[in-house]
């Protein structure tokens, strides 16, 4: 894969990360913040995947897998926290 394409894509994904930060700052509520963090984690997964394509190493995608696992757990626990007032 040509490096120029992946470099442009990394720059674009970084701009998307700024957009996600704006979304997180504009969130009026706890659920909006949970949603914004979910979207931010998805953008970071995209960034790590593109970084792995750029460098030719595979362990950035492994980090993305761990991040996706943590994001699922944190989203489920935070949603439960919003409903019941506690994580359990």
């Amino acid at each position: 894969m040509p490096g120029v394409v992946v470099s442009i894509a990394v720059g674009w994904a970084t701009l998307l990360l700024f957009g996600g930060g704006v979304l997180l700052l504009r969130a009026p509520d706890t659920l909006h913040r949970v949603l914004a963090l979910d979207v931010l984690v998805a953008i970071v997964i995209i960034l790590l995947t593109l970084l792995s394509y750029l460098r030719g190493r595979s362990y950035y995608i492994d980090a993305a897998l761990a991040l996706a696992l943590l994001a699922l757990t944190s989203t489920l626990v935070a949603a439960r926290y919003v409903v019941r007032g506690g994580p359990f």
Partner: protein
Amino acid sequence: MVLDVIAAGLIALGLLLATIGLYGLLRFPDIFHQLHPAGLVTGPAVLLVLLAAVATGSAEIITSAALVLLFVLVTSPLSTHAIAQAARRRPRRPEDGTASGGSEATRP
């Protein structure tokens, strides 16, 4: 060469979907409206960028990307559904009104 063009197209399409989803997230007023573009960002955008791993030609990267692809395919609807269910069932404060949730009559 053909694989490179396909991968560049997949990456561009995935980032375009993420941009559209983020624009929708910034424009829509309600959490139930916002869940739709959020599902667009966390689901298909990530999947399209991960599908572009076929052009790298490295077995390690393709295997890891396939693993993450299967995982995201399962967990993205799960998290979106959890947020939607929490938004529907959360206890409503009196000053909230109906500005950030569904109608009161449909709640169980």
